[in-house]
């Protein structure tokens, strides 16, 4: 057993209605950097949540063995005690506190409850040196860039004597230089005997840093291979290698003239204004065309589209043309008035007023149609809502049911319905089928086809490759804010898209 520092054996984890992990085996050797790859939703995060005690012992089947001993983690603290530390995609630092305070948060050197500040800052320095962070430990975290914040997180993990460090998409929010620094730090840590589990779907990074790679797909382990015995293409094939079934009712339809055109569009990170999230992107869409936008999480797809829609907080510049006319869109209201609509991702956060009823949600973006001098014609409103409920077959007991009480698929249809009522020329759909079941997905696709026939231009952002391939007439692939590939429906393949999305050509 001494071969492995960590073994996860036959891990199975079920959520209501979904088997997220099925008999997963994951073995890590001491002192290696072990990459964990897979598409969005393959089960990487679930597996790591089990390892870090977020899902406690008893909520899953299987065993976790560290240094030959079986472990039962009841919470995060118990996994930390066993030497496991996780650094999440969303950093969990307290921004108002200093770097030193954050490193020792909950673990402050003290005597009878009185903090020894000199010792705290002295030791902080030591841990910061381990991650090559040369700043004053009394700096507030809020004043640091994302890259530095991440290093503080790593220092914090090291201060807890972590032996196994899990990094979940650490490079997603970093600039190129910051990624290089991160790579350096990881190599140093490796030399100091720290084991790293590196979750990423950026293949080039994995091949740069990792010793071993494990691929997960649909909740199952596909393979574990030393990095020098595999190739980028093989890893990509393992990540996407499921058969495309006939789940996509795509129709061939003559596209019309170009209706929507974006030229040289740039978007900046609101939290890190030097960083470009979208870099000089240009594209166009035709009437009756579905343009798929593929790319990895954090590639800048949502930022691009919501910025065009006037709903993104970061700075942006570039030109937008509708029907050949240049338009200025400064707010979602401008966008709606220009015939744009956007089905946002995360319907609960951005799409719906959950505590309000179906009807009020449906007409929210189009209220002016039902108003005469500001007064709502309730019957007109009901009439239209009823029509859209029937067209989209939204299953709801009544128009006055709170959307909170609908299933995910029906909630999503309410969001789609809201935007259809504005009769858009251009419909942007950001992850239109995330978190809904197969049947509801099919219905959403059928709605898209119907709109296509009516000449609506659809721009669909999706992280699900089969969906992108199955529904799009044309596919743009975005990698780190730039367009890195454009494919017609019949020339696209999973491998080509995955390669372009991970930065290859």
């Amino acid at each position: 057993m001494g071969d492995y520092i960590l073994e996860m054996r036959n891990i199975t984890k079920e959520f209501p209605g979904v088997r997220a992990l099925n008999n997963v085996n994951f073995k890590v050797r001491p002192g290696e950097i072990h990459a964990l790859c897979g598409e969005n939703g393959a089960g990487k995060s679930t597996l790591m949540k089990i390892l870090s005690g977020v899902y406690p012992y008893g909520t899953y089947d299987g065993a976790i063995i560290i240094n030959g001993e079986e472990q039962r983690f009841n919470n995060i603290a118990s996994s930390e005690a066993a030497g496991i530390a996780i650094i999440n995609q969303e950093l969990t630092l307290v921004k108002q506190l200093t770097v030193g305070e954050n490193i020792f948060l909950g673990n402050e050197p003290n005597k009878h409850g009185v903090i020894n500040w000199h010792q705290l800052y002295y030791e902080s320095k030591k841990w910061m040196a381990a991650v090559k962070l040369d700043i004053n430990p009394q700096t507030k975290v809020a004043n640091l860039g994302v890259g530095h914040q991440q290093m503080v997180e790593i220092a914090k993990a090291l201060s807890k004597k972590a032996k196994i460090l899990i990094l979940d998409e650490p490079s997603a929010a970093l600039t190129e230089n910051e990624v290089d620094t991160l790579m350096d730090i990881l190599r140093t840590l490796k030399n100091n005997g720290v084991t790293c589990i590196y979750i990423s779907h950026k293949i080039n990074e994995i091949f740069e840093i990792a010793d071993t790679v494990t691929v997960l797909r649909d909740g199952e382990t596909i393979a574990t291979k030393p990095i020098d015995q595999t190739t980028e293409n093989e890893v990509i094939a393992m990540m996407v290698g499921r058969e495309l079934s006939n789940r996509f009712p795509r129709i061939n339809h003559e596209t019309g003239e170009v209706i929507f055109e974006v030229k040289n569009y740039n978007v900046f990170d609101p939290d890190n204004p030097q960083r470009k999230l979208v870099d000089n992107v240009s594209f166009s869409v035709r009437r009756g065309e579905i343009l798929g936008i593929a790319g990895l999480m954090g590639a800048g797809r949502t930022e691009l589209m919501s910025s065009i829609f006037g709903g993104f907080p970061g700075e942006s510049y570039g030109e937008v043309y509708i029907n050949g006319q240049k338009v200025e869109i400064k707010s979602p209201l401008d966008a709606i008035n220009n015939g744009l609509a956007m089905v946002t991702e995360d319907r609960k956060r951005y799409g719906l007023v959950l505590i309000h009823d179906v009807k009020k949600n449906l007409t929210l973006a189009n209220l002016k149609k039902y108003c005469k001098s500001g007064v709502i014609n309730a019957n007109e409103e009901i009439h239209d809502s009823e029509k859209i409920v029937n067209t989209l077959s939204i299953k709801t007991p009544s128009l006055e049911t709170k959307v909170n009480n609908l299933s995910g698929g029906n909630q999503q249809k309410v969001v789609v319905g809201k935007w259809l009522l504005t009769q858009p020329l251009i419909l942007i759909m950001d992850e239109p089928t995330r978190g809904i079941d197969v049947g509801a997905k099919y219905e959403i696709y059928s709605i898209m086809n119907e709109l296509k026939k009516q000449g609506v231009a659809i721009i669909m952002i999706s992280s699900e490759l089969p969906e992108i391939l199955g529904m799009s007439d044309r596919i743009l692939v975005i990698h780190e804010g730039k367009i890195n590939g454009e494919f017609k429906h019949d020339e696209a393949s999973q491998e080509k898209i995955m390669l372009a999305a991970t930065g290859g050509n």
Binding site: F309, G311, S331, P332, L333, A335, I336, N337, M342, T344, R349, Y350, G351, L352, V353, L354, I355, H356, K360, L364, A365, L367, K368, C371, G374, V375, I376, A378, N379, E380, I382, H383, E386, V389, N390, S393, I394, K395, T396, P397, S398, L399, E400, T401, N405, L406, S407, K418
Partner: protein, 393 residues
């Protein structure tokens, strides 16, 4: 899934009459509140051996509730947008004081003095809204600053004195009663309006092909509502008639119920409160709406200010002191949620009535003054706790 049903059959919605639409957010919770109110009234009636339910006391109670109710109407909209307005008591004092000073010291006529006071209230509201909406300063801070500052300004402009007396035309705003004949005309107008709207609404529904309730049912509900109006009018005329402040409250409650339920502005305000991001992305100008909500709250506070000055027949430095807390309590008892997006005007008015009934009843029972805020505070806590309990089930 229990919610899934055949969509075609299930989406047929029975429409409600205008009156019930005005009370759209009035459902189960409102009925429990009405029951609670009836219990409180019965309780006091028994303990005061019937004195509580005399026409004279009802008339008094209606007058007492008016100031809090008007403030609560404005407060509902502020709380629905997840903000708070702590300075309405001070705005009440300042604008009321201003109207008093203008009339007593500068001999300005009643309508002009009132108009200036209302304008002042709306401007103060706009000032608050500007800071909250365009500079993202928390409403709690902006209006706390206002609470302190306006009380100071009031103290300064009145030079610490009580400014009295006002012209009879001003005083009558609070102490006056609508005479019998105009009162009957008013009630008749309301009844005719009620009947007409139910007929029109029924016709419109049939035009749109919606299912309507059986005719006898609609006639019956209309008769019940009309009966209640006639009863209320009758009781009030057993004493002196309908007090003017009650008319003001009724008119404002109807106007603002209409605004919140039947206008684009109202709908958008509630949507903002429910999910400000979704509202913004649906094309709602969140900042402008927020500004208007504060303007309305300021305006309503100044109306309450004018009525207070009229009632006291003087501008005093303590007018409206602590009134914001009564207004907030009324909203909360009336079902307005601090999480935003939920709350109703009739609910808040009923909440104000609960608070005023407690004050009035306890005074009649000669409960010692220090007990009254203690009991009101306890009932507020109890009401919200019960609400949370029942919501969980």
């Amino acid at each position: 899934m229990s919610v899934v049903r055949e969509s075609t059959e299930s989406t047929i919605v029975a429409r409600k009459s205008l009156f019930s639409r005005l009370n759209a957010r009035f459902d189960l919770r409102a009925y429990t509140m009405i029951i609670a109110l009836v219990i409180i009234w019965l309780f006091f009636t028994i303990l005061t051996e019937g004195r509580f339910l005399t026409p004279r006391n009802i008339s008094n109670l209606a007058r007492q509730v008016s100031i809090t109710a008007i403030l609560a109407i404005g407060m509902v909209m502020v709380i629905v947008t997840t903000h708070i307005e702590l300075s309405v008591g001070s705005i009440l004092g300042l604008t009321g004081g201003l109207a008093g000073i203008l009339q007593v010291w500068y001999h300005v006529s009643t309508p002009v003095a009132i108009l200036i006071a209302l304008l002042c209230g709306a401007l103060i509201g706009a000032f608050h809204g500007y800071w909250v909406a365009y500079h993202n300063v928390p409403a709690f801070i902006v209006t706390l600053a206002g609470l302190l500052a306006y009380r100071g300004i009031l103290l300064g402009i009145t030079k610490g004195q009580t400014v009295a007396p006002l012209a009879p035309s001003f005083k009558v705003l609070s102490s006056g009663y609508l005479a019998l004949v105009p009162g009957i005309i008013l009630s008749s107008i309301i009844i005719i309006g009620l009947v007409l709207t139910s007929i029109l609404s029924r016709r419109s529904k049939i035009k749109y092909g919606f299912k309507v309730k059986p005719l006898y049912f609609e006639i019956l509900t209309t008769i019940v509502y009309c009966g209640l109006i006639i009863l209320a009018t009758y009781v009030l005329y057993q004493y002196e008639g309908i007090p003017y402040p009650v008319i003001v409250v009724l008119v404002l409650a109807i106007i603002f119920s209409f605004i919140t339920n039947n206008t684009k502005f109202g709908r958008q305000v509630y949507a903002m409160g429910g999910n400000v991001e979704a509202a913004r992305l649906s094309g709602i100008n969140v900042r402008r709406r927020t500004l208007v909500v504060f303007v309305l709250a300021g305006l309503l506070a100044s109306i309450a200010g004018v009525l207070t000055t009229a009632r006291l027949n003087a501008a005093t430095i303590t007018a409206g002191d602590g009134a914001e807390l009564d207004a907030i309590a009324s909203c909360v008892i009336g079902g307005t949620s601090f999480l935003g997006g939920v709350g109703s005007i009739p609910g808040a008015v009923l909440g104000a009535l609960v608070m005023a009934s407690l004050d009035n009843g306890m005074s009649m029972m000669n409960v010692e003054a220090y007990w009254q805020p203690i009991i009101k505070g306890s009932i507020l806590l109890l009401a919200v706790w019960l609400d949370i309990k029942t919501k969980k089930k």
